[in-house]
Symmetry: C2
Subunit: 182 residues, 2 copies
Amino acid sequence: MADINVQRPAAQPDSRGAEATPGAARAGELRWDIIELLFFAYRDFVGDADHELEAFGFGRAHHRVLHFVHRYPGLKVADLLDVLRITKQSLGRVLKQLLDEGYIIQKTGNNDRRQRLLYATPKGEALVAKLAGLQTDRINRAIASIDPAGTETVRQFLRAMIDRDDPDKVLEAIFGGGKPGK
Amino acid sequence: MADINVQRPAAQPDSRGAEATPGAARAGELRWDIIELLFFAYRDFVGDADHELEAFGFGRAHHRVLHFVHRYPGLKVADLLDVLRITKQSLGRVLKQLLDEGYIIQKTGNNDRRQRLLYATPKGEALVAKLAGLQTDRINRAIASIDPAGTETVRQFLRAMIDRDDPDKVLEAIFGGGKPGK
DNA sequence: CAAGATATGTCAATATGGCTGACATAAATG
DNA sequence: CATTTATGTCAGCCATATTGACATATCTTG
């Protein structure tokens, strides 16, 4: 059984090469540990849903669409493009599948009949809730391991990790607290 | 300027369809907000690096390889496959580029000469540190927004989000505290 | 009303980064 | 020597993303 060549994370001399990276933390202050934890935490977090989605012939892209349509009923296609930051061609494919298979329905906008307002069907609600259940279980386990007051700390940390310049409508709803329009 | 159709996240009736999702939280307890925050936080977090990587003709896959080789010098190819959970064919492509372009070097194992131990070159160190600098800036900004003691809470939360069954060598190093071998 | 802008949809081609299966080589192991 | 292990590679497939071009319906404006 081959011996182990892996050393613990070496306290690197931190050879930040090139001309002092713009706006970067000084040497020795890099958050290697948190960078790494975010990688693993997110990998396992989305892994929960990925596994379940396979049984439906769906991928992560479908989950993201279904999630936001569920959360923000009446979302327009253009809003979804903003939020997901993908092109309409990419969205088109997964959205068509979700529509064809009855997970989402479109309704023509009342004021602007060009718009297609998106809503999750009961079938769609069921799937997205199932996926959220798996992820919630993981989150609850993690929250149980920290100080009760820590939940708000984690929430605040995550919020502060998000770019707030040029927010889309969903981010406005999350942050704005009260500027959901304009 | 078309009116806004997006409502704030509706307190959904939470139609967990189908037979009570196995092991899932009960209705009304789903962590929709944290699920969503994780999506946005991770998107922007990796976005920092993604943008920079473009200039080098690299993608996320290259970053991940470079990161772990940097952090765990002497990592074997097989270890990297475990950590990244991809196939050797997939790894082969990006690893070959990183080797060809001088970001990583291989050294034949001392005990087992079949092994190729991986090390980041100064060029590789410079790139990975530059990327980590960008991400560290974001993390520092987020940490600055929470209680000083909150950093450890966040770290603990992230650690608890990670699967610990069948850990690879990197996770053993992160968690094991002292069982880096076997 | 006619002209232009907007919201959506679709066709075609391409890139990235995963995957499987098959096979080859070198070196360790029994 | 036979087998297993560590690595590499060829060939093809799939999902998801991209760009550019174009079509249609509808709203807005001069």
